[in-house]
């Protein structure tokens, strides 16, 4: 999959530039650059994983694997000013694999339990109360769009390209999700 990733605002641009610099260092075997990269993008990686899996323990597993894959494949990154697109592509593939494992384990073991139950927000061990509400209230698709826009600063058209969805779908799901969350906040207050 080839992703076209337009650079967003200044913050996103800075993050892309810094990430690209660190990837170059990592590809040269500079281990300390890995720590700096972790500090820079840890929330982006974790938030996206949590939005998809809905389960904190699994999100941590995905997060760890994403960083390992980044380290392992850093030599293969072609600098084009789009490192976050490359990283999210790695993460999306790992999450796809995560769901495949869930699905396969269920199929091969002939267990009746639906793998989706494992990702049920009710079963997560998320500490933050607002986050628990968010995970429970929004669909997986709404969560990933919210995270990519609000946490990672991607523009809607960038999200549309990344997720291979029409821009109109992304926009409507984003607005619907925000509306749901506003209702949650109002109710809480």
């Amino acid at each position: 999959m080839i992703l076209i990733y337009a650079i967003g605002g200044d913050e996103t641009r800075d993050k892309n530039a810094e990430t690209e610099k660190l990837l170059a260092e990592i590809s040269r075997g500079n281990a300390s650059a890995m720590g700096a990269l972790y500090d820079l993008i840890k929330t982006d990686v974790f938030a996206y994983a949590l939005s998809r899996t809905g389960n904190k323990a699994d999100a941590e597993d995905v997060m760890q694997n994403v960083f390992l894959q980044i380290y392992r494949n850093a030599t293969r990154y072609v600098p084009e000013g789009k490192p976050m697109a490359w990283i999210f592509t790695i993460e999306i593939n790992l999450i796809r694999r995560y769901f495949r494992i869930k699905r396969r384990t269920t199929a091969l073991d002939e267990k009746a339990a639906d793998y989706a139950a494992a990702a049920n927000p009710e079963t997560t061990a998320v500490d933050n109360a607002f986050l628990r509400e968010l995970l429970k209230t929004l669909t997986e698709e709404e969560r990933e769009i919210i995270v990519l826009h609000v946490v990672s600063g991607l523009k809607h058209r960038e999200i549309a390209k990344l997720l291979e969805k029409p821009l109109s779908t992304v926009l409507s799901k984003y607005n619907r999700a925000l509306g749901k969350l506003q209702a949650v906040v109002k109710e809480r207050r």
């Binding site: 281990a31 495949r100 494992i101 609000v150």
Partner: protein
């Protein structure tokens, strides 16, 4: 209101993010980095005479398969996603591809397991097509995109099925279908075929090592069957091509630990043969076949920095009490070592069977 809400969302995720920094950095320390890929897959520079004709046939056949794959995929609508997969088929060359199939051997999904496989699958929409058609399209695409050549290929086929028909029969069928595709394209391929039973642990370990479930299963089998290999070698073994593993795999049958339904077919091309290795040793000794009382050739794994597959060539010359043991690099044919030693004490025999204790391996 919206800005406040967005800040609250971002803060919530930030607070929840666990601190895995040390754990990840430590894990990275043990993680090998992949080599930067070549810009384009390497093809042979020169072909002459019959080779040109042969190549033309292969190119033409594969181009047809590839285009047929594209057309077939587009002509058939998306499958109704109600069928459940009872079989998973893994194809490894270096591109690693996973197919899930229903009971009618129709492809339900086709997943790229690595970047090379993503390249192979660009433009192919195989969901809903019959397995045989899918195999043709995949082999065609692999050839067209430079991952297969006319005569120097190895493929690992792994089947994981809960089908009542059983794994062995299906494995045989798939292997024959793949061979047929290669034969029809005038291409040669050495095939390792195995049935696997993938549990969650195997799938996870495959993901951790960045390889397919089939390759992981094969490596596990090799590590358990070959004394010289251990779990510590898995990262390095993971990076080896199926072709190199195929040669290393020849060590395995002597250990008497064959997985269920295993089929090995075809010969491994692109390497020095045992006969050539023996000839190189004779040349090194300055002797001919007539001077030899006895010889043997074993395949051995050899680790010095990286894994190599070597031939250990043992020669006993007529009228000479010494036993000569050489090691020959399977890739280059270079004679790399010479350990000659005195013949051990005789047991009153005629000398023909008084050979030193050989390492376990396949006798040629």
């Amino acid at each position: 209101m919206k800005t406040r809400l967005k800040n609250e969302i971002a803060d919530a995720f930030r607070e929840e993010t666990p601190d895995l920094r040390d754990k990840i950095i430590k894990a990275c320390e043990n993680e090998p980095q992949l080599a930067a890929p070549a810009a384009t897959p390497v093809r042979k520079a020169k072909t002459h005479g019959k080779a040109v004709i042969r190549r033309f046939i292969a190119v033409a056949a594969c181009a047809v398969l590839f285009v047929a794959g594209l057309l077939t995929g587009k002509a058939i609508p998306e499958p109704v996603p109600t069928a459940s997969a009872d079989t998973f088929l893994y194809l490894d060359v270096n591109p690693s591809i996973e197919l899930s199939l229903d009971g009618n051997r129709t492809v339900l999904s086709c997943e790229a397991e690595n970047a090379d496989a993503e390249t192979v699958l660009v433009g192919l929409e195989l969901e809903g097509v019959k397995l045989k058609t899918a195999l043709s399209a995949i082999v065609g695409a692999m050839y067209v995109k430079g991952y297969l050549s006319e005569n120097d290929n190895s493929m690992l086929i792994s089947v994981d099925t809960s089908s009542p028909d059983g794994a062995a029969g299906f494995l045989q069928t798939v292997t024959e279908q793949v061979k047929e595709v290669f034969d029809n394209s005038s291409m040669e391929c050495s095939i390792i075929a195995q049935s696997v039973r993938a549990d969650e642990s195997l799938i996870k370990r495959a993901a951790d090592n960045g390889i397919s479930v089939g390759k992981m299963y094969l490596l596990d089998k090799m590590v358990s069957a070959i004394d010289e290999l251990s779990d510590a070698d898995l990262p390095e073994l993971s990076g080896m091509s199926i072709k190199d593993l195929n040669l290393l795999y020849t060590l395995k049958p002597e250990k008497g630990d064959s997985p269920d339904g295993e089929v090995i077919s075809g010969k491994v091309n692109g390497y020095v043969t045992t006969e050539q290795a023996y000839a190189a040793v004779l040349e090194q000794l300055g002797k001919t076949e007539n001077d030899v009382a006895y010889h043997s050739v074993y395949t051995i794994p050899y680790k010095q920095g990286e894994f190599k597959v070597m031939y250990s060539v043992t020669v006993k010359l007529k009228g000479d009490d010494k036993i000569y043991v050489f090691e020959v690099d399977c890739k280059t044919g270079r004679v790399t070592d010479d350990v000659s030693y005195e013949r051990p004490p005789q047991n009153g025999g005629d000398g023909k069977h008084d050979i030193p204790p050989f390492p376990d391996g396949e006798m040629k």
